[in-house]
């Protein structure tokens, strides 16, 4: 029992996420001194609100990455779903109906992604890039570039987090928590989650183990589209208008957040908690820049630096810990270029 506990503790400590969280905490501590308002409830609430869209999308991206894919269309799908929700409300359909429509559209685009990647075997990078282009092009064409307005209702203000539920808690925060818990449960407690990891780790091995690889990948893309639609519904509420350019650049943030959180572009890796921490780190960067009054033009530079720094922390945290704990252990395999699997000769 003791042995087991210590094994668990060791696993926890050598978890790369601890490194990232350390980074977040260190930033928080420094900020607490530099700018005391940083730790104020209102600022923390701000951060919580500002990270929502990226957090949703990074969960979507994490699931796709786990399944060994990549979804560059999440930003565009988010915008299109937001547009659909808004337009449907404007046509007099109740909120719930509009949300269903948006979710159906998002999930549908996800299914198209899945079809292209699995059936037509288009590389995921290209397929989702193209679908993203088509999706955002369609939104532009449909709206003629004019933002969709006039769909806000008091109920929708709750959905967008503009009105708070209890204390600083808003509806989308709850939705995020629920979605995160559900996704984590799906990934770790159910058949389909287990199988997604297997598919992402090695499609060939999964296929020979009898897993319906293509179908699982399609599920992952559909899930991604669904969650992107959730993000779209939320963001339409937060910004109270849907400009066609709404989703621009979000896919990159989502990938960054997912990867910071430990997902790998090689598949089979990633966690919901990691995605959330990644989204938090990205949002924090911006918040700190705004709070400290660093010239806003440095923001992009810092985001890039944080991304590389986090990747580095992710990469070498386990090494560092194992180095400290067991000096004789050989270095862990790297993500990008795994050392050759030494075959039995």
């Amino acid at each position: 029992m003791l042995h087991r506990a210590s094994g668990r503790a060791e696993r926890l400590i050598s978890d790369p996420l601890i490194g990232i969280l350390g980074l977040v905490l260190a930033a928080a501590v420094v900020m607490a001194f530099v700018q005391p308002t940083f730790l104020s409830l209102s600022n923390l609430t701000n951060i919580g609100g500002a990270m929502l869209a990226i957090a949703f999308l990074s969960i979507a991206m994490t699931v796709v990455l786990i399944a060994g894919g990549l979804d560059l269309s999440v930003g565009a799908v988010m915008a299109l779903s937001a547009g659909v929700a808004a337009a449907v409300i404007n046509n007099g359909v109740p909120l719930a109906g509009a949300f269903v429509a948006a979710l159906v559209v998002g999930t549908g685009v996800g299914a198209v992604n899945g079809f292209l990647v699995t059936r037509l075997e288009v590389p995921d990078f290209i397929a989702t890039l193209a679908v993203g282009g088509i999706t955002s092009g369609f939104l532009l064409y449909w709206t003629r570039g004019v933002p969709i307005l006039g769909y806000m209702t008091p109920a929708y203000e709750y959905v967008g987090g503009l009105r708070r539920l209890i204390g600083p808690i808003t509806v989308p925060m709850l939705v995020l928590i629920v979605l995160a818990l559900v996704t984590a449960t799906l990934l770790h407690r159910t058949t389909i989650g287990l199988r997604l990891y297997a598919v992402g780790s090695s499609a060939a091995a999964a296929r020979s183990a009898g897993l319906p690889v293509n179908r699982l990948k399609v599920y992952a893309y559909m899930f991604s589209g669904f969650v992107a639609a959730v993000a779209g519904i939320y963001l339409a509420g937060r910004t109270t208008t849907v400009p066609p350019s709404m989703g621009t650049g979000y896919e990159i943030s989502a990938i960054a957040a997912a990867v910071i959180g430990g997902a790998s572009l090689l598949g089979g890796k990633g966690r919901v908690l990691g995605a959330l921490v990644g989204a938090l780190l990205l949002t924090l960067t911006r918040n700190i820049i705004n709070l400290t009054g660093v010239e806003s033009s440095w923001q992009t530079v810092l985001t890039g630096a944080v991304l590389i720094g986090a990747l580095l922390a992710n990469h070498s945290w386990g090494d560092l810990v194992s180095l400290l704990r067991r000096p004789l252990r050989t270095a862990a395999h790297t993500e990008a270029y795994p050392e050759p699997t030494t075959r039995e000769g």
Binding site: L120, I126, A127, L265, E295, L311, Y337
Partner: protein, 333 residues
């Protein structure tokens, strides 16, 4: 038998599909849109595509070696800014060019060091440096209005008419040709292809894959720098975010040209043809007066169709070649 083999060789030639597609689309536009084939128009729109052509060659190299350099677009923009800034500071054309190419090379070195030295994922690392480069350009343009140099020699780098086109176009063409020669006819190029096919077998064959990759990133960065100089020279003006999204166009172009994202396969000129194909589509639709919003959708479809068609053709060619090979050496199994 022989015609079959010739056919399979033709369609199996890397880039056959994209060359045919380019010719078809070009011919189609030339017939339907009279302005399309006008010399001045062609010259202008190719000149406009020069930066994309150059970074397509750059990104294709990094994809072929088994990585990817997403930072090329942003580095191109930053290099353009630095180069123009140097020229505006009155330092003359040579230092300005060096500053631009040097900026690109520096980013290439940084990418290479992080990716090869620390063995981090290339996609994410170059995504990070993309942000750094793009951000630095924002900082630079926030401080200095890069609205043009008085140095005529600098402006002449890309704009001088020569051989019916401009020097910028000629330089881009030269880059494509040189990169093609580099990949096909030099020992370095051979090592690049071998590394892209697999780091492990390449290492076993005695190739220092880390060095090869590193050099590819340096070349890629330098090319992005050169592209930046050409852009700055042609426009004589640089603004922030001017080149955002170029890297995605370049990747799409390379893949359309048959460069495999898995590495090792494809060539430079095929990738450049892919970029020209996308450019032709864009220009053709513009001249047809098609709304760019629709155009964005059509481009997406074209990319998907193109990739699928290219692969099917290649599979067919492979099957035919395999059959011929087996037959000619009489292997039963």
């Amino acid at each position: 038998m022989m015609p079959g083999r010739r056919f399979s060789r033709l369609i199996g030639t890397d880039g056959a599909a994209i060359a045919i597609a380019l010719l078809l689309v070009g011919a189609l536009f030339a017939v339907t849109v009279p302005e399309f084939a006008a010399v001045g128009n062609l010259r202008y729109f190719v000149a406009e595509e020069v930066p994309i052509l150059v970074i397509t060659a750059a990104i294709a190299l990094t994809i072929i070696v088994g990585g990817i350099d997403l930072s090329v677009g942003a580095v191109l923009g930053l290099s353009a800014g630095v180069s123009l800034w140097t020229s505006m500071s009155g330092l003359g054309p040579v230092p300005s060019v060096l500053a631009g190419v040097g900026t690109g090379a520096l980013f290439g070195v940084v990418n290479g060091l992080i990716i090869v030295g620390l063995r981090l994922n290339d996609f994410i690392v170059t995504l990070g440096t993309l942000n750094v480069a793009a951000g630095l350009l924002v900082v630079l343009t926030g401080r200095i209005q890069l609205t043009g140099t008085d140095d005529d020699a600098y402006v002449a780098i890309a704009r001088t008419p020569l051989l019916g086109v401009t020097t910028g176009i000629l330089i881009a063409a030269a880059v494509a040709v040189l990169m093609h020669l580099l990949l096909r006819y030099t020992t370095f190029g051979r090592r690049v292809r071998a590394t892209g096919l697999g780091v492990e077998p390449a290492r076993v064959a005695g190739i220092d894959t880390g060095r090869v990759k590193f050099l590819c990133y340096v070349v890629s960065g330098s090319l992005a720098g050169l592209g930046g100089v050409l852009l700055a020279s042609r426009l004589n003006s640089v603004q922030a975010a001017m080149t955002s999204g170029y890297e995605l166009t370049a990747v799409a172009a390379a893949v359309l040209g048959g460069v495999s994202l898995a590495g090792g396969r494809g060539g430079i000129w095929q990738a450049v043809l892919g970029a020209l194909f996308l450019a032709t589509l864009r220009q053709g639709f513009r001249l047809l007066g098609v709304d760019p919003m629709i155009f964005a959708m059509i481009t997406g479809l074209c990319i998907i169709v193109g990739v699928v068609a290219d692969r099917s053709l290649r599979d067919l060619a492979n099957r035919l070649t395999l059959r011929d090979t087996r037959r000619s050496i009489g292997v039963a199994q």
